[in-house]
């Protein structure tokens, strides 16, 4: 596997980031706060008021380092990118495949199979670790029921021959999964009753939303590096400005994010006071704890998982990239199906 390079998240306000030979240098005022060799980077994500020199931008784009600007709350603002790598043939096949209803359904189905399979893995993992604890008998029974229902949804995906019915099954599975998600949270302060976004109305949902955004960014860069068009999806409908394929690809990897969020809470790396409640009832993570989260996410990306198709272990941070590659190879005719990442 290609070595996992780092994504640097810069959230120091009024930072000035520039190039010094082959290094990235971050300054605040006259003080140098960080110096990193650029060849070790995969991406640069800036939160809020961060300035980058054009020479660093050029160097980054030549070396495949994407630069993303988000506002202080993680909302996407802009992206800096060098010339798109050619591979017009791959993109053309992708677009033609996307226009073919049956082919799109087949790809969307495999991706969602991966998602449901991995959601089930999250529940199973929890049952294995905590299922036999005395205080959890009733909980374990509910989790077992949910796990069985997920298996049923997973089997039913095979019979879906339209995007709508696939989405229906996926929605059903999400209800089952998030219906028992609260049992996986072992810190009583944190309550969760349903998945709510736009805006997230509790800290758990705020964490999920924020981390899904990070995942989608990673999927988007992985697709672009591979030469695929992140805007043209198979499951998610085309909509101007929406990275539909990045969202498609993120589906099967979301359960890894869920596990990550659960571990942040359960290991008490975050507490309720790390969140800010806004007048509209929405929650966001404060700046300092966001630093904690991003550091933990960078660590988590280094952890490896067994990729059952490649039969080798892959760092979690490389999964968007391996999956983008499988998708590209499938579209180019190397194999007869897309193969999602299955979490064993």
């Amino acid at each position: 596997m290609r070595p996992l390079r780092n994504v640097i998240y810069i959230q120091t306000q009024n930072a000035w980031v520039h190039k010094d030979n082959d290094n990235l240098v971050m300054k605040v005022g006259d003080e140098i706060k960080a110096r990193v060799p650029i060849h070790k980077l995969q991406g640069l994500v800036c939160f809020g008021q961060v300035s980058i020199s054009p020479y660093l931008m050029a160097h980054c784009s030549e070396n495949g380092v994407t630069i993303t600007y988000l506002n202080q709350f993680g909302k996407f603002l802009a992206r800096v990118e060098g010339p798109v790598s050619g591979n017009v043939l791959l993109r053309r096949t992708q677009h033609l495949t996307g226009a073919d209803r049956d082919k799109s359904v087949a790809i969307a189905r495999t991706m969602l199979s991966g998602k449901l399979y991995n959601q089930r893995a999250v529940l199973r993992r929890y049952l294995r670790d905590y299922g036999d604890q005395a205080d959890g008998q009733a909980m374990a029974a509910e989790l077992t029921t949910a796990e069985k229902r997920l298996s049923r949804c997973l089997n039913q995906l095979a019979d879906c021959d339209a995007i709508d019915t696939l989405m229906g099954r996926e929605g059903e599975a999400a209800q089952v999964y998030f219906g028992v998600f609260q049992y996986l949270i072992r810190q009583p302060d944190f309550q969760f009753d349903a998945r709510r976004r736009r805006p997230p109305t509790d800290p758990v949902n705020a964490l999920l939303s924020f981390c899904y955004t990070l995942l989608t960014h990673d999927c988007r860069s992985a697709l672009e590096t591979t030469g695929l068009d992140p805007a043209s999806g198979f499951l998610h409908q085309l909509r101007s400005g929406r990275p539909s394929l990045a969202l498609d690809l993120a589906e099967e990897l979301r359960p890894m994010i869920d596990r990550f969020v659960l571990s942040l809470i359960n290991k008490r790396q975050l507490s309720l006071k790390d969140f800010e409640e806004w007048p509209n009832g929405s929650f966001t993570l404060k700046e300092e704890p966001r630093r904690t989260l991003l550091a933990a996410w960078q660590d988590r990306k280094q952890d490896t998982l067994m990729h059952p198709w490649f039969e080798e272990s892959v760092p979690i941070g490389m999964l968007p990239w391996t999956q983008a590659q499988i998708l590209a190879r499938f579209l180019r005719g190397d194999c007869d199906s897309y193969v999602p990442f299955l979490w064993k």
Binding site: S85, L154, C335
Partner: protein
Amino acid sequence: MEPEPIYLSRLQHYLYCPRQFALIELEDVWVENQFTAEGKVLHQRVDQPDKQKRGDIRSVRSLRLSHAALGIEGVADVVEYHIQPDGSEQPYPIEYKRGKPKQHRADEVQLCAQALCLEDMEGLLVPEGALFYGEVRRRHVVYFDATLRELTLQTIQACRDIVQSKTTPKAVYKAGKCRNCSLIEQCHPQDFTRPASVWLAQQLTEN
């Protein structure tokens, strides 16, 4: 319309592995490894366009070559013009390679294709040239005989077939070759030869 030219340097990719050629030519896949990086450094030294004359040899570096009828083009590292007693000049192509002479004929075919271009451009016969290998630091003379010329023409045609069909050949795994290939991580010669749909169905029904 003229067909898109095949680059001289790509012929050796085809002979090494047709899939490697297609990945580079059709899919813009390129990854540096130790071997390609060494080759690049070696070429940075020869790739400065330059003319020199020493005794009865005039040498030209980074000479652009093409052969319209064959649809090939590229750049020769060095072409020496050997001045004959009658004052005429005999072109003599020299290609720089890292490493040492190889079992397969990829380097010779690339050089022969340069000779074909020179013959077309200069209107005379080019009977021999040389490969300069960085590791052994010596010239290895190559005669452009009928067999090599035939192999070169066949290779050009095979490359053109891939470019026109826009299809990347399936991977064929050969341990020694694949391990030295910088594209192995992009190519996955061992993975995509398995039937993916059968494997996936099995995984999903297993509990």
